[in-house]
Amino acid sequence: MMMPGAEETTMSQKSKETGLDRRNFFKALGAGATAAVAPVAVSPAAAVDPGKEETKSRYRETDHIKNYYRTNRY
């Protein structure tokens, strides 16, 4: 016949073997998750860069545009 305290002794022995107490399991898990997430949160959000080709100047004073300016002076 097993004594009432015998089972407890076996469990605490097991947790000692794994090195992780039942009561500290989630604490350890939480700390691990924070460590994994932290570097992602630090990286800055990158704004969309439309590119040099897209934002380059397209306006040039062609003869067509010069004519437009001339006729608008009337």
């Binding site: 704004a47 969309v48 439309p50 590119g51 897209e54 934002t55 380059k56 100047s57 397209r58 306006y59 040039r60 004073e61 062609t62 067509h64 545009i65 437009y68 300016y69 006729t71 608008n72 002076r73 009337y74």
Partner: protein, 198 residues
Amino acid sequence: MARMKFLCDADRCIECNACVTACKNENDVPWGINRRRVVTINDGKPGERSVSMACMHCTDAPCAAVCPVDCFYTTADAVVLHNKDLCIGCGYCFYACPFGAPQYPKLSNFGSRGKMDKCTYCAGGPEVDLSPAEFQKYGSNRLAEGKLPLCAEMCSTKALLAGDGEIIAQIYKERVVKRGYGSGAWGWQTAYRETIAI
């Protein structure tokens, strides 16, 4: 660097709406959207004035400030454009714009999340210049062709000015100095006889 601007000479605008029609045709603008509109105040009363309105290509554009996906950008010509591939159709820009420039295609009665559409100053979009993809999304790219927006180029009374802000401001100044207060458009007194003060 030239800064592209629109300037509407309200004394010359006759509310013919040709700029609106030309814009729709040139850029293949979807149903339910007018990139340019003619607004008339005191309609039918003495002192009636009309002004043609579109995107004013603001220096510090409110549409760009509120966009959650940052799809607006300003070109070296100071033209405010947007990227329809990034646009999520949230509608913030529509509420932010004081001129009602960004609009949405009304494809269905409820829940449609299209891409915002706005005046591009006939400067296309982020796609390759004058490509079919650019025309399909944004309309023509007249600036790349060495021309100015069609709405201004075909204005019959030369009310709507477009181009380098310095030059069109000078043109407007010359007009005001020459005509004084009031309209200098041709045929004004023929149309309204002596009842109109120039």
